[in-house]
Each structure stands twice: as structure tokens, then as C-alpha cells.
């Protein structure tokens, strides 16, 4: 190999190592030299820089490994994580719908009862403020349950309990009128919560959250 080619390879290798630094330390200790050899073997002739596509592929892999370290995750836990991500997506969709329909809803309320406009506006601001928190909560619980954190199970169950109580309290007030869409969304989120909590408390999932100590 000519000295120019060696210099090119060294430059490329430094580039790969910079991107690989995103990976968890445990993975690098075990596999950095191995993956580096594969990266250099698949690099194009004369390549001196890490391409965008391969950098993206590596960073995506690193993020996946950091968020969800590889461990045999039971199907029930994987399903629960998906349901929680669906919950976050549903909440996001609701927030976007509220934002985009706000002017039309406001006009409709004003046409019927001008005095109610202020109350409706306060309600909307409150809902929109809470939405990012609720989305964040769904995502956080999905992440932590995916990692098998035992506390995440308890927090999920507690959140579901609070959701149920708040729904019962609202329904118990009586005399309130709900839009059909409100009822549908609230019910959907409740069902998602119920299903994900049920899944993370199945016996197989329990073994994942609390691995049995290795028998000596």
C-alpha cells in the first residue's frame, strides 16, 4: 500500500472512530475493532470521509442500543412498549387537531353563546399545555419499560390508576356535556393504558423486570 493510501485509510479510520464514539462503552469494548474492520472493508476505494448514509446508519444503531440495550425482551413487553408509543402518537394527534381547529371551534361557540368563549379558551390553553407533558410521559414510560426498569412498571400502574380516577371523577360530576370526539379520545387512551399495564404484569413480563438470580 502506498503512503498516500495508508494516510487515507488512517484518516477514514479516525472518522469512523469519531462516529463509533456514540455507541455504549460496553459495545465498543467488545466490538469496536470488529465493526471497524467491517467498515473499512466495505468502504469505497480511495474513500477518506465517512459518508452521510453510513454515518446515519451508525448513529441510528447507537441510539437504538443506548435507548434499548439488547436483552431478551418478552413479546408482552415489546407489545406494551408499542402501545405506549401509540399513546404518545394519539396525544400528539389530538394536540394538533385542537390547534388547527381552534379558530373554527371558537367561532362556533361565539355564535351560540358569546359568554362561553373565555371559558373555552382557558380550557384549550390548559389542554395544550398538558399535551407535551402527557406525550413526554408516554414516551418516558415506553423507554423505561423497554429497558425492564421495575419502577417504570409501578409508575405506569400508578398513572393508569390516576387516569381512571380522573375519568370517573369527571363522569361523576354529571350534567356535563361532552363532544363525541372527546369521549372517543379519552376512551382510546384509557384502553391503551389498560392494555399496556395488563401486558407488563403478565408472568413472562414479570421475569423480565425481575430476573431470577443465577443459581449457584
Amino acid at each position: 500500500m502506498s503512503s498516500q493510501a495508508t494516510a487515507d485509510t488512517e484518516r477514514l479510520e479516525r472518522g469512523y472512530r469519531r462516529v463509533l464514539a456514540w455507541y455504549p462503552r460496553s459495545f465498543l469494548a467488545d466490538s469496536e475493532e470488529e465493526i471497524l474492520a467491517v467498515l473499512l472493508a466495505t468502504a469505497a476505494e480511495g474513500q477518506t470521509r465517512v459518508g452521510w448514509a453510513e454515518a446515519w446508519d451508525l448513529v441510528r444503531g447507537a441510539v437504538r442500543m443506548r435507548l434499548w440495550p439488547a436483552a431478551p425482551r418478552p413479546r408482552a413487553v415489546r407489545a406494551a412498549v408499542k402501545l405506549m408509543l401509540t399513546g404518545a402518537a394519539a396525544e400528539l394527534a389530538v394536540a394538533i387537531t385542537m390547534l388547527t381547529t381552534a379558530p373554527a371551534v371558537r367561532a362556533a361557540i361565539a355564535a351560540r353563546d358569546a359568554a362561553a368563549v373565555h371559558g373555552a379558551a382557558v380550557h384549550l390553553i390548559l389542554d395544550l399545555t398538558l399535551a407535551p407533558l402527557v406525550i413526554g410521559l408516554w414516551l418516558w414510560l415506553a423507554w423505561a419499560n423497554g429497558r425492564g426498569e421495575d419502577w417504570a412498571r409501578m409508575v405506569s400502574a400508578a398513572c393508569f390508576g390516576l387516569l381512571t380516577l380522573s375519568m370517573l371523577a369527571v363522569l361523576g360530576q354529571g350534567g356535563l356535556i361532552f363532544a363525541r370526539a372527546d369521549v372517543a379520545v379519552a376512551s382510546a387512551e384509557w384502553v391503551l393504558g389498560l392494555a399496556s399495564v395488563a401486558l407488563i404484569f403478565t408472568p413472562r413480563a414479570c421475569r423480565y423486570y425481575r430476573p431470577q438470580p443465577i443459581q449457584q
Binding site: 459495545f27 466490538s31 465493526i35 474492520a37 467498515l39 466495505t42 446508519d57 448513529v59 437504538r64 439488547a70
Partner: protein
């Protein structure tokens, strides 16, 4: 099972392979359609090892770098066989409906 995972397991079905070997085998199996990148490959290998579907057969040092050979575990063989049978059944059903005469279905 994702296609990349299926192809990685398939690449290991007839013997141990190292990382670069898996990439070339997968390209060959898929007729050049799937070109695995190193990030995707090693994320999948990490997970498959944790799930007990593949194991490390042996390690070599080539030109100063570690080369690890992976192979299917009995569990991995079972999972791959089940997935292959499922895909085969689906493909057979699709072909039978598309071309009843050719696939031996009832017209």
C-alpha cells in the same frame, strides 16, 4: 421478524460467518437487493446474541483486527425454520391465487 434479521439468520444457516461475510452473503441471497450497512448489522447481531438466536463460534486476529465468526444456535435454527415456513406458506398462497393454473390451484 424484520427482513434484515431474517436474511442475517439465513446467511448463518449453512455455517459460521464473520461480519463482512454476512454482508456479502446477504447481498447474494437477496440478489443484490439488500446491502446491509455495518451499523444495521451490528445492532442486529447484538440483539440476536442477547436473544440467544446466534452465538460466537470462534475469533481470529486478521491484520491486527479481531474477526469474530457467528453461528446459529439450536434456538436460532428453530426460529429461522418457523419463519421460513410461515413466509413460504404465505408466498404459496399468494401465487396460488394469482396464477391458479400455474401453481396447481383449482381454477
Amino acid at each position: 421478524m424484520q427482513e434484515a434479521t431474517f436474511l442475517i439468520l439465513t446467511a448463518l444457516a449453512d455455517g459460521a460467518q464473520h461480519g463482512y461475510g454476512i454482508i456479502t452473503e446477504v447481498a447474494q441471497i437477496s440478489g443484490g437487493r439488500v446491502r446491509l450497512r455495518a451499523g444495521t448489522l451490528y445492532t442486529a447481531l447484538d440483539r440476536l446474541r442477547a436473544d440467544g438466536l446466534i452465538g460466537v463460534d470462534r475469533e481470529e486476529v486478521v491484520e491486527g483486527r479481531l474477526r469474530r465468526y457467528y453461528l446459529l444456535t439450536p434456538e436460532g435454527t428453530k426460529v429461522l425454520a418457523a419463519e421460513a415456513a410461515r413466509l413460504h406458506a404465505n408466498a404459496t398462497a399468494a401465487l396460488a391465487r394469482l396464477r391458479p393454473g400455474l401453481a396447481g390451484g383449482v381454477a
